[in-house]
C-alpha cells in the first residue's frame, strides 16, 4: 500500500480536513470562528496566533446572537496548507470555540470591509477626490470646506485601490473595520 492511494477529503467524523496536500505555497484563508461570548475569548484567539507564530491579516469580532451569547470572529490569515490546517485545529480545541469554518475552502463566499477615509484639499484635487469617490461608490459622510470623510464598502483590494488613488489627493487618515465574510447560497453556519 502506498500513501498515494489514499483518497483526499475529510474524515467523516471530523470537522477538519486531516488530509491536506502540504504544498509549500503560502495561501490566504478566511476563517469564520463561532465562539461563546465570554470574557477573554478574543484574547485566547489572538494569544494562540501570537504564541504559535501565525499571521493575522485581518480580524473582526462582534456578538451576533445576543440571547445565545455567540460571537463571530472573522480572521484572514496566511500560511502553507499545513499551517492553515494547524491553525484550524488549534482554534477548534479552544474550549469556548463552537465552530471553525474555512470559508476559502468550503465553497464560494463574499468578503466585505468598510473603511472611512479623511481627504483634505482644495481646488482641483478636491473635485477629483469627489469624482473618484463617485466611481468607487463611496459616500461622503462628513464635509468641511477643506475636507471630506468618505465611507466605502467593498473587498479589501477595492479599499486599497481607493486609498491609493486618494493618497496624492490629500489622504490624511484611514480607519478600516477588517473583513466580514459569509458563504454564498442558502446554507448557513449557525
Amino acid at each position: 500500500m502506498s500513501p498515494l492511494n489514499i483518497k483526499k477529503g475529510a474524515s467523516s467524523h471530523s470537522a477538519y480536513d486531516l488530509r491536506s496536500t502540504f504544498g509549500d505555497t503560502v495561501e490566504r484563508h478566511t476563517l469564520a470562528v463561532i465562539v461563546e461570548n465570554e470574557p477573554g475569548v478574543l484574547a485566547r484567539v489572538i494569544g494562540l496566533f501570537a504564541g504559535r507564530g501565525y499571521n493575522i491579516e485581518s480580524l473582526t469580532v462582534a456578538e451576533i446572537d445576543h440571547t445565545g451569547h455567540r460571537s463571530r470572529i472573522t480572521i484572514v490569515t496566511t500560511g502553507t496548507p499545513q499551517v492553515i490546517v494547524q491553525i484550524k485545529a488549534q482554534l477548534g480545541r479552544i474550549v469556548p470555540v463552537h465552530e471553525v469554518h474555512d470559508l476559502t475552502v468550503e465553497g464560494p463566499s463574499v468578503e466585505r470591509e468598510l473603511a472611512l477615509l479623511k481627504v483634505a484639499g482644495r481646488g482641483d484635487a478636491r473635485v477629483e477626490a469627489l469624482r473618484l469617490a463617485d466611481i468607487f461608490r463611496a459616500s461622503v459622510v462628513d464635509s468641511t470646506l477643506q475636507s471630506f470623510v468618505f465611507e466605502i464598502t467593498g473587498t479589501p483590494e477595492k479599499i486599497d485601490a481607493f486609498a491609493d488613488l486618494m493618497r496624492p489627493l490629500g489622504l490624511q487618515e484611514v480607519a478600516r473595520t477588517g473583513v466580514a465574510a459569509l458563504s454564498r447560497g442558502s446554507d448557513t453556519l449557525v
Binding site: 474524515s11 477573554g40 499545513q82 485545529a89 480545541r93 474550549v95
Partner: protein, 583 residues
C-alpha cells in the same frame, strides 16, 4: 430545592461532589474564606505544601498515578505565579488538574492591589482553559465545568480564579448533575479510517507500534486493549517516555523506549519500518530526531484525540481522530471480525532483523572499579524493588533517562516524569502526590542532586503527613545532562555545570527528621537500598556515582534514528553546526 451558601462553602461542597479526597495547597490572604471552610470539615484532606509549585506538581503526581484529576489551592499574586510552572508542565504532558486561586476582591481588580496579579491573563497560555469568577451564583457550576474540561478530550490543567468577595458572598449552589456543557470532544474514531489501518496492518512487512502518554491518559482499558492488539498481531512495540507502562517491559514484543536516549533497536525499528502505528504520541522532537530523515520508508497512522496533534510536525497517511481506548476497541473488532491475518513470513523476517539489533545490547555496561556507575545503581534499584507495589517519579536530566532505560514498568500509572516541559524539581512534590494516593506503596523519586535541590523544601511536607517517600539521588556533583552536552558540543568547557557547595544529604535528611543513607561503594549498594526500602518513613538516599558518566545510547541533535551514538568513543564531532542550535 435550591441551596444557598457562601462562595467559600461552595468551593468545598463542589469539590466534595466531584469526589475529591485530597487538595494540595498553601493559604494566603485571598483564600482565607476557603481555608476557613476547609477547617470546618473532615471529608477532604488538605496537604500543606511548602511552595505553590510543589502543590501543583503534587496534584500532577496524584493525577498521573490514579487517573483522577488532581486539585491544588493557592492564594492570589505570588501564589498564582508560583503555580505557573506546574500548570505548564501539566499542559505539556496532558495531566488533568484543577488549580483554584484566590484573587483580590472584584472591586479592587485592576488597581494593582496587594498580591494582585492578572492570573487568568498569565495562565491563559498555560492552561487548557481558565475562568475568573465575578458572580457567586456561577461559582459552583464553573467548578463542575472545570472538572469536565480538565478530564474530557485531551486532558489538561484548568484554573479558576476566585476573588475574595465572591468567596464571602452568598449565592445559589448548582448541583453537579445540572451542569450543561457544549464541550464534548469526539471519542469514536472514523470506522472507515480504522478499517484502512487494519488493511495496512494485514499487508505490513515491517510494522511497529509507537505508543505514548495518550494510552495512559485514555485509562487502564486502553493499555489492556493495546496489549490484546500486540498479542493478536505480534508486532513489535516501543513507547515514548510518557507512555512507559502501557505495555509491560517484560512483554515479548517490547523494544524499550525510543527517542534521543531510547534503545538502539527501538530507533532502528522506527527508521526502517514500513508501517508506523502511532497510538497517542505526538511526534515530539525528542522522538523524531532529524525530521527529514524520520522513518523515510513508512506509511504512518496516527491515533490521537487532539486534531491539532495530527499532521503538526510529521505528515501522516492514516489519521484517526479519537480516544485511544475507543479506537483500539474498534480496531480490534475490525481486525477480528474481518478475519485479518498478518504477513507471518515477513513478520518473522522482521523479528529476525530486530534480534540482530537487540544483540547490540545497547544498554549493556560493566560495573568495574570502586565507584558506582549510575546504570548499575538503576539496575540494582530495579532488581530490589521489582516485586514491590512500586511507583517511580523522577526529576529531569541524565538520571531520568537512566531510570527510563533500566527500570521496567509492567503497568500504566506507575511512572511519573516531566516529559514535555522537562521541569527540574518535579519529582519530590510529585512523589508526595503519589504517596498521598497510595499510602502503602513504595514510592521512589529517582533524582539528580541538582534537580532535587530545586524543590527539596517539600521534604517538610513528607514529614508532616508521614509520607514514606524515598528520594533516591544519583549524586554526580554535576548538572549531568548539561555537562554531557557541553562535552559533546561546547568543547568541554563546563560552564556552570558543577554542583558546588552541596549540602550533606544525610545531615539534611536528619535535619528534616527523615533518614539519610549514603552509599559510595558498589559492594554496599544492595544492602543500602534494602535499608531504604525497609525504613518506614521518608529517606534521602545519597548515591555517589561516577561523575563523568554520559547517557547512551544517544541520537545527537540534528541526526537521524540510524545515526545513534552507542558509547563515548563515538562522540567526537558527533554534532554538526546545524545540530548545535537544536536543544
Amino acid at each position: 430545592m435550591t441551596k444557598m451558601m457562601t462562595g467559600a462553602k461552595m468551593v468545598v461542597q463542589a469539590l466534595m461532589d466531584q469526589g475529591v479526597e485530597v487538595v494540595f495547597g498553601y493559604p494566603g490572604g485571598a483564600v482565607l474564606p476557603i481555608y476557613d471552610e476547609i477547617f470546618q470539615q473532615n471529608q477532604i484532606q488538605h496537604v500543606l505544601v511548602r511552595h505553590e509549585q510543589g502543590a501543583v506538581h503534587a496534584a500532577e503526581g496524584y493525577a498521573r498515578s490514579t487517573g483522577k484529576p488532581g486539585v491544588a489551592l493557592v492564594t492570589s499574586g505570588p501564589g498564582a505565579t508560583n503555580a505557573v510552572t506546574g500548570l505548564t508542565d501539566a499542559l505539556m504532558d496532558s495531566i488533568p488538574i484543577i488549580v483554584l486561586t484566590g484573587q483580590v476582591p472584584t472591586f479592587m481588580i485592576g488597581t494593582d492591589a496587594f498580591q494582585e496579579a492578572d492570573t487568568v491573563g498569565i495562565t491563559r497560555p498555560c492552561t487548557k482553559h481558565n475562568w475568573l469568577i465575578k458572580d457567586t451564583d456561577k461559582l459552583a457550576n464553573t467548578i463542575h465545568e472545570a472538572f469536565h474540561v480538565a478530564t474530557s478530550g485531551r486532558p489538561g490543567p484548568v484554573l479558576i480564579d476566585i476573588p475574595k468577595d465572591v468567596q464571602f458572598a452568598t449565592g445559589t449552589y448548582s448541583e453537579k448533575s445540572k451542569r450543561k456543557s457544549h464541550y464534548a470532544p469526539q471519542v469514536k474514531g472514523d470506522i472507515a479510517m480504522i478499517t484502512e489501518l487494519a488493511e495496512a496492518m494485514a499487508t505490513a512487512k515491517r510494522p511497529v507500534f509507537y505508543t505514548g502518554g495518550g494510552v495512559i491518559n485514555s485509562g487502564p482499558a486502553a493499555s489492556q486493549l493495546l496489549r490484546e492488539l500486540v498479542e493478536a498481531t505480534g508486532f513489535p512495540i516501543t513507547s515514548t517516555l510518557m507512555g512507559l507502562g502501557c505495555y509491560p517491559a517484560s512483554g515479548p514484543a517490547w523494544l524499550g523506549m525510543l527517542g534521543m536516549h531510547g534503545t538502539y533497536e527501538a530507533n532502528m525499528v522506527m527508521h526502517d519500518c514500513d508501517l508506523m502505528i502511532n497510538v497517542g504520541a505526538r511526534f515530539d522532537d525528542r522522538i523524531t530526531g532529524r525530521l527529514d530523515a524520520f522513518s523515510p520508508k513508512s506509511v504512518k497512522a496516527h491515533i490521537d484525540i487532539d486534531a491539532s496533534s495530527i499532521n503538526k510536525v510529521v505528515r501522516v497517511d492514516i489519521p484517526i481522530l479519537g480516544d485511544v481506548a475507543h479506537v483500539l476497541e474498534d480496531l480490534l473488532k475490525v481486525w477480528k471480525t474481518q478475519g485479518r491475518r498478518t504477513d507471518k513470513e515477513a513478520l518473522a523476517k522482521w523479528w529476525k532483523q530486530i534480534k540482530t539489533w537487540q544483540a547490540t545490547d545497547c544498554l549493556g555496561f560493566t560495573q568495574d572499579g570502586p565507584v558506582i556507575r549510575p546504570q548499575y545503581a538503576m539496575s540494582r534499584l530495579e532488581a530490589l524493588t521489582k516485586g514491590h507495589d512500586r511507583y517511580i517519579t523522577t526529576e529531569v536530566g541524565q538520571h531520568q533517562m537512566w531510570a527510563a532505560q533500566y527500570l521496567g514498568f509492567e503497568d500504566p500509572n506507575r511512572w511519573m516524569t516531566s516529559g514535555g516541559l522537562g521541569t527540574m524539581g518535579y519529582g519530590t512534590p510529585a512523589s508526595i502526590g503519589v504517596q498521598m494516593a497510595h499510602r502503602d506503596a513504595l514510592v521512589i523519586n529517582v533524582a539528580g542532586e541538582a534537580s532535587w535541590l530545586m524543590n527539596m523544601q517539600e521534604m517538610g511536607t513528607a514529614m508532616q503527613y508521614g509520607l514514606p517517600v524515598k528520594q533516591f539521588i544519583l549524586n554526580n556533583e554535576r548538572l549531568g545532562m548539561v555537562r554531557q552536552w557541553q562535552q559533546l558540543l561546547h568543547g568541554e568547557r563546563y560552564s556552570q555545570s558543577w554542583s558546588q557547595s552541596l549540602p550533606d544529604f544525610v545531615k539534611l535528611a536528619e535535619a528534616f527528621g527523615a533518614k539519610g543513607i549514603r552509599c559510595s561503594d558498589p559492594a554496599d549498594l544492595d544492602e543500602a537500598i534494602a535499608e531504604m526500602i525497609a525504613y518506614d518513613g521518608p529517606v534521602i538516599f545519597d548515591c555517589l556515582v561516577e561523575k563523568h558518566e554520559n547517557c547512551f545510547p544517544m541520537i545527537p541533535s540534528g541526526k537521524a534514528h540510524n545515526e545513534m551514538l552507542l558509547r563515548d568513543a563515538q562522540v567526537k564531532g558527533a554534532i554538526g553546526a546545524t545540530g548545535a542550535v537544536l536543544v
